[in-house]
Amino acid sequence: MKKIVLAIATLLPLCAVPAHAQPAQMSAYAEDTVFGSDGYTSTDGEELYQTLCAGCHMPDGSGAVGAGRYPALSDNPNLEYAAYPVTLIVNGQAGMPAFGTFLNDEQIVALVTYLQTDLGNDFEPDATVEDVAIARPASPADPNRAEHE
């Protein structure tokens, strides 16, 4: 069901209309968002992707290009083995922040499994909680530490 709503939501960018007072068209994920200090609580790979990763890598995994770019995750051979996405999600790389403190081991396994089997990828999912635990640094960066407000 969520997939259908999402398909409609991805068409929205084509209609460049000002957000007037009529009720906004909300995707199911946006509608169901729970904000707050608990952060990300879902253990569903698709939901985690669509409410976190999709912001940059886009709902269909197509990535984006501006002055720089966000890599596409669809049809991405780097996702064949879980070690690579697990390491990137836990520790970040270049412009991508580390999400190790946002997500627990189970959530990262669910997310990587989604990446390996959806968004146009058809790999044998091989992520395990042990892999995630190994990838975690001894003293993880705190993504909420603010030097500025």
Partner: protein
Amino acid sequence: MTQFTRRNLLGMIGTAAGSSAMYYAMASMGHAAASNYAGPIKLDGDPKGAKVLILGAGLAGMTAALEMRAAGYQVEVLEYREKAGGRCWTLRSGDEYTELGGATQKVDFAQGNYINPGPWRLPHHHYAVMDYCKRLKVPLEPFIQTDYNAYVHSSDAFEGKPQRMGKIKTDYRGHVSELLAKAVDQGKLDEMVTEDDREMLIESLRSFGVLDEQNAYVKSLGTSGYRGYEKMPGGGADAAPVPSDLYDPSQVIQSRLWRSLAQHESLEHWAPMFQPVGGMDGIAQGFEREVGDLITYNAKVVSLQQDDSGVTVTWEDTAGGGTRTSTADYCVCTIPFSILGQIDHNLSAGLSNVISSMFYNGSTKVGLEFKRRFWEQDEQIYGGISYTDQAITQISYPSTGYQSDGPAVLLGCYTWRGADTFKFNAMQPAERIEWALRQGEKIHPQYRDEFKTGVAVSWHKVPWVLGCSGVWEDREAQGYEEAIKVDNRVVCAGEHLSYIPAWQEGAILSSLDAITRLHDKVING
């Protein structure tokens, strides 16, 4: 040999160089708050026609362009966007903004209304920004950070009803002062308070906390004179003031609303703060008036190479098409590391490591335009900021146009890092706006009836920077010193290479320091 005393040294500097030089000297000697802005930069020595290529026409790049041309360099500036300013950016009626993913927003604000998606307020102690605004004739006006009549709000406190900050502040201070005064009076703090200090401390707490002669914080016309009355004093008949009930101490402490009070006290938010009249991009336009003739817009840098003889930059003309090349003797690169890390370059290994390991902050801002200033007309809130524990974190009311009729724009959401920022980032603009309305209407029930239009910017989706500022977890471990070095013929600059990240002051100070060191190398080898 004469021994200089500090006073006669200052006297000499004052006589020789005028009072502003004396001020900077005093500041550096600890008499006033010191900054490493030492007044207008002086790049002495003849660069003999050397050419410098500046990448990026944000504040760091335009500062370098302005000062290096003045010092005698040939200057060329390449800018990815169609206009100058970078993150010093204002969205106003008629503008269009397309974020990554393709969502385009047409800003439908009334004429003259705007939102600053990036920097939006200037601390008075950001000396470099203030000085450039003066030199570039950018008119400033007060930015109201603190408004005692704005709200503090927590979903779990006071049944979710927003509270006037002045009431909470006065009650918090009063109750805490009462506790402390009583403890001191009863001798419970004798180990920490000397007998000499005891009486003076209690007297000060009576003043600070509005306590009575028994050191109690109680309902009275006296305390109402600080927290607000049940009925304000008036004139003529039936005009006597009626004091207001105090909130219970436990209620005030448990509400956690005191968390918002400290926002106003940090140095960065000390009153007075300022804003450029008409939008933050007034600063960008001020610089552009000076150096606009040097800037090539719509130039997407794809390669930055240097060797013993010079610097070669390859760029795509995104407006006219085609690939072009610019060469120079030196380069000041203000491209954010989030972008530079994806550009083909042959910078040193040390610098490259920092470039490719720096990630960028996310932040979300939502501007909401309402048909009328209900916060002024219904709630007597004139500028300032209401804080909430909801994801939007705050509502900032316009610091200008008071009492005017017609639509006005407020900042309806400002997130900084954290999971909520990523949740907003994963949404479409209309969804972010809808959530800003859902949360804002808990504070202002007028929201739905009065809403006209909105615009939402999530910084991870801004095509030319991919985030709002560079993040240092540990400057020493990550190589800050390496990153600011002049790397052969190239030096990097921007807010990301400062100790004031995400502030324009950091961008300008970084640039001034970088070009000073580059110039020294050019002149002295």
